[in-house]
């Protein structure tokens, strides 16, 4: 397997007052293929966001390393687009200006016209064609998060990092935005890692679900492969018999196994647990 992003023996630790070390994340090993969508689930406070922020370069790496597209990461950069839980827009700038800010940096060789086209394109495909000149205060929470998504994609990053991007939204808006994200991701196939604690969201969006054990010394407890064919339709995949099976598997992990620290060891070359039934294709054909 050729890894596009390789996370090796990642450790995050803070020195404590008594001279010791508080180890937040340890033995975190993961290889992502190009164009893969991986979600990380775990209890709040387990260190899943810490791991993502190390990938983003916003949190320092205590030990181990991350290689993205053949280059070891050090510090943040526009090659990784980030969507935070709170949209984090600059309040004195319109939606367009917020998106243009990054575009002007990474596309500085392009013409003004082309840069404007990029902003217009991404703001329109996330459904904000009519609101490009509005300020964040004039936008609903869901619309602000749409700007956040447009801003991340517009930089054409090598990787997309999403830190519980829909956690603050009501369930209907969340459904809509999952769709917006998935549509855009399908077009661009940017390698993505998303942190969430919503099991359904993980199953709907991702190719693999990484399950993290509780901290301290949080690590990967298990990885589940999600083989639902794409494009996915929520209604259809939720009806699949495998959906319930996978869902129960994830919930069982969160309820029981997350509390035990048994690092995941890939077996026989397989890189994820595979519990899909053999008649998966047949079940799907029935729809």
């Amino acid at each position: 397997m050729s890894a596009y992003c390789e996370i090796s023996n990642l450790v995050k630790a803070y020195p404590t007052a008594d001279g010791g070390q508080a180890v937040i994340v340890k033995d975190f090993n993961l290889r992502l293929k190009k164009g893969e969508f991986v979600t990380v689930i775990g209890h709040s406070g387990c260190g899943k966001s810490t791991q993502l922020m190390m990938l983003a370069g916003l949190s320092s790496i205590t030990d181990g390393g991350i290689v993205l597209a053949g280059k070891e990461l050090s510090g943040p950069g526009p090659d990784r687009g980030i969507v935070f839980q709170s949209p984090s827009l600059l309040p004195w700038m319109t939606a367009r200006e917020n998106v243009m800010l990054g575009i002007n940096q990474v596309f500085f060789t392009a013409s003004k016209r082309e840069r404007a086209q990029i902003a217009e394109y991404y703001l329109s495909v996330v459904g904000l064609a009519d609101s490009v000149d509005k300020y964040p205060v004039e936008l609903s929470q869901g619309m602000r998060q749409r700007v956040g998504i447009a801003r991340a994609f517009a930089l054409k990053p090598k990787m997309l990092l999403l830190d519980e991007p829909f956690g603050m939204l009501d369930s209907l808006t969340r459904y809509e935005l999952q769709q917006v994200l998935l549509d855009l991701w399908r077009k661009e196939r940017i390698t993505a890692m998303m942190v969430t604690h919503d099991v359904d969201e993980a199953l709907y969006l991702s190719d693999r679900v990484v399950m993290m054990t509780d901290g301290p010394e949080a690590t990967i407890g298990d990885i589940l492969e999600v083989k639902f064919p794409r494009p996915r339709e929520r209604k259809v995949i939720m009806e699949l018999p495998d959906y319930q099976k996978l869902r129960e598997y994830l919930i069982e992990f969160l309820e029981v196994r997350a509390h035990q620290r048994t690092p995941f060891v890939p077996q026989n070359g397989a890189d994820a647990t595979n519990i899909h039934s053999a008649d998966f294709g047949a079940a799907l054909a029935a729809f």
């Binding site: 950069g77 526009p78 090659d79 940096q105 990474v106 596309f107 500085f108 060789t109 392009a110 082309e114 086209q117 990029i118 217009e120 394109y121 329109s124 495909v125 064609a129 009519d130 609903s140 929470q141 930089l155 054409k156 990053p157 009501d170 369930s171 209907l172 808006t173 459904y175 809509e176 209604k235 939720m238 009806e239 319930q244």
Partner: protein, 305 residues
């Protein structure tokens, strides 16, 4: 005529030149003893609708009647539970509930009122916290006080305005079970407003979607035939439950799409690569313009506006 009836009600705010119509043509009939959930997006006008039912505001057009009588203002025949609990911070749990009881039953003896107050505090499992102030309670406990206060005045209709919206998932589930239990005990007429499809279906006899505003209106009423008492775990795997949830969500998502004008716009996405700016804005090899990915330089995409 139904017990609670809303007929052709419209409501808007603001002066004529800057008017926003929130609700339009709302029709709703609820029978006595029925539990109805209204589900809609944030900002759809859910709270406006609730205020109309409570009599806190008057409709611009149409009528709201309760038990055949037109509503003229707020009153203790309708009990409201708000998302933000609305407890008086300087009064204890007991005093908050007693305040409502004393107002509504002034003719009762002191002992009767005390017993009544205590009964309802017990009903929501708050007896150990009787003497606590709201700030000493968790969000879930505060909401229980609010529920006890509302039930204690024995209203004919219980109006729940996103009562569990501010609570975490676990507390939310516990209180949903509690509301369900309380409702089964005395079968009051209940209108619950929520943005959580699962909550709406779990609790109600009927679920009605409220379309996105402006000019929000109620969609078709969807009966929930799942037998009671309903167990949260079994219900979420129930086929009917899933069907109803899909129906509700589909309706709401489609209703929102209808609001979008179907004008399409031609978009151009330049097919250029971002620059590596980790070493500043220096370019190698005398290149001036951006690197273009392929022969095809542009892509036209049509989007709905």
């Amino acid at each position: 005529m139904s017990f609670l009836e809303v007929k052709n009600v419209s409501k808007g705010y603001g002066p004529p030149w800057k008017r926003s119509e929130i609700l339009e043509d709302i029709n709703l009939s609820i029978e006595e003893g029925e539990f109805v959930s209204i589900i809609g997006y944030s900002g759809a006008g859910k709270t406006t609708l609730m205020s109309l039912l409570a009599g806190l505001i008057k409709p611009d057009k149409g009528t709201v009647t309760l038990g055949g009588k037109a509503m003229s203002g707020p009153g203790p025949d309708r009990g409201l539970v708000f998302q933000n609990y609305s407890l008086l911070p300087w009064l204890t749990v007991y005093e908050n509930v007693a305040l409502a009881v004393d107002q509504v039953f002034p003719k009762w003896s002191t002992a009767e009122r005390k017993a009544h107050t205590e009964k309802f505090i017990k009903m929501v499992n708050l007896t150990p916290a009787t003497k606590k102030l709201p700030r000493e309670l968790s969000g879930g406990m505060r909401q229980r006080v609010s529920v006890a206060r509302t039930l204690a005045i024995n209203p004919r209709v219980l109006l729940l305005d996103e009562p569990l919206g501010a609570l975490d998932a676990l507390t939310r589930a516990t209180l949903q079970d509690e509301i369900s239990r309380l409702w089964q005990e005395d079968r009051k007429t209940v209108v619950l407003i929520t943005n959580d499809p699962d909550e709406a279906i779990l609790l109600a006899d009927r679920v009605i979607p409220l379309t996105a505003g402006p000019k929000a209106t109620l969609g078709p009423s969807i009966p929930v035939t799942i037998e009671r008492p309903r167990d949260r775990k079994c219900v979420s795997e129930d086929y009917d439950f899933k069907q109803i949830r899909n129906e509700v969500i589909d309706y709401l998502l489609k209703a929102r799409d209808r609001h979008k004008a179907s004008l399409s716009r031609n978009l151009v996405l330049p097919d250029i690569e971002p620059e590596d700016i980790s070493r500043g804005r220096r370019l190698s090899g005398g290149r001036r313009g951006p690197v273009r990915k392929s022969e095809i330089k542009r892509e036209n995409v049509e989007v709905e506006v």
